[in-house]
Symmetry: C2
Subunit: 298 residues, 2 copies
Amino acid sequence: MIPISDIKTYFTTLQDKLCTAITDIDGENFIQDDWTRELGGGGRTRIIKGKIIEQGGVNFSHIYGDTLPQAATLARPELAGCSFQALGVSLVLHPHNPFIPTTHMNVRFFIAEKLRCAPTWWFGGGFDLSPYYPNREECIHWHHTAKTLCEPYGTNVYPHFKKNCDDYFYLKHRNEARGIGGIFFDDLNEWGFESCFSFIKAVGEGFLTAYLPIINKNKQRTYTPAQKDFQCYRRGRYVEFNLLYDRGTLFGLQSGGRTESILMSLPPVVHWCYQWQAQANSPEAALINEYLPAQDWV
Amino acid sequence: MIPISDIKTYFTTLQDKLCTAITDIDGENFIQDDWTRELGGGGRTRIIKGKIIEQGGVNFSHIYGDTLPQAATLARPELAGCSFQALGVSLVLHPHNPFIPTTHMNVRFFIAEKLRCAPTWWFGGGFDLSPYYPNREECIHWHHTAKTLCEPYGTNVYPHFKKNCDDYFYLKHRNEARGIGGIFFDDLNEWGFESCFSFIKAVGEGFLTAYLPIINKNKQRTYTPAQKDFQCYRRGRYVEFNLLYDRGTLFGLQSGGRTESILMSLPPVVHWCYQWQAQANSPEAALINEYLPAQDWV
């Protein structure tokens, strides 16, 4: 028997913890919108427009229904006719300061059930970092934190989930990674429920360990209008990824999800500019040539 | 025998004419990039960052190959193994002034050929308008121009292509039209080549008749920072449409098109804001409630 209420309790507690940690640094509170889904379930969307976080959201949702949407059963026809529940916490933070990277974190659980059958369930999630003016030590810290939390689950876990992340957050039309990666996993059930759930908790905790020091190290740094422009230009890549490729975004919008909660992932101010080119040997060129290509960080 | 070189000559001449007309009003010249496509063909991309047009492009391309990309033959399996040519002119203009609407215009020709078979060919295209602070007379003028150019081809042409446009430029996840429409058509060959080609020319000319007076009427108007913000916010819908739905954009990016030429359609500065709401009875509410819902304009 899968203890769904325990997962739900953990996810809502995690949402609280993430928001509290961000508010502690930022000084600004989140606003909260509770919403319900006509076909079953609902969510708790929290949005911050802060002093450090220019725009960000930490969303919890729990949706369920008697039958899976058709889009979901195309890839897994064995789930046709199942009732389902999907729970998750999603975080996206777009800081003002271009020295603080944009980040994304997600943990989610899915279960499909049919009478007289064992349920099908899995966890998914991860976290990834999209810096503008990256710092090598911070990238190493980010990946080291990810590796450390994965280690109790097997030595191959971090390399596997790190590669998933590099493969997933990739803009094919730009031949470019969205950021410096992190970990990404889906369909996780092979370790059994208890281990998977404890791993998910480690991801939730690990995210703050990975990200908060990077905010703290950079939040006082001053930046030029040109550096802010570069951040706004690079945010365009974030929009392109989320609207062209991100499965969660596309599935959410196609399946009648709450548009404003899904698109809270988009940055507050974005620039597009034809044929923008970094100057040779500039920090902007370093991001693209040295940091974004997938590499071993730990 | 389809005179492809005549179409190409017309399209490049149209590109010149459009650019000249815009430069005459704006004062700024277009920059030009010629590019070639590894698999066959190439294009001439022209970009303006002007005094009236904040960012815009007028692109010509002519691509060809010995076999159609697989993505193109999925919907039309009878074209498998055909050689093909695709030619087109695409225009997108994002003005500085929020009283001048964003506009998009496109004309295109496609032909697929196989030995000892009659070629398969069609034209497509249209133009549509995305205002921020619309004016009823200008919307009527826009649609009246479209209707007038369609009339020689049959009384049903404008209503049919106008409805295509309303259906196509629609953001399902917002339950909202991208703009006030215009005309949109594809797979056009049923009138025979001569009539179709002369219609395409009428669309090319008609666009300037429809749009230039709207620039001229509004280019001197002053606007507030709040009105500029609203324009930037609404431009987000333009991005969402192009990256989530636009077939030309998605097909171009998926088939290895020139990314910078395709994404020149995206606006220079865009804002996203959670749960933005227009004030009751404001001009911003009028756009959404009075102008965007599909309606009979002529």
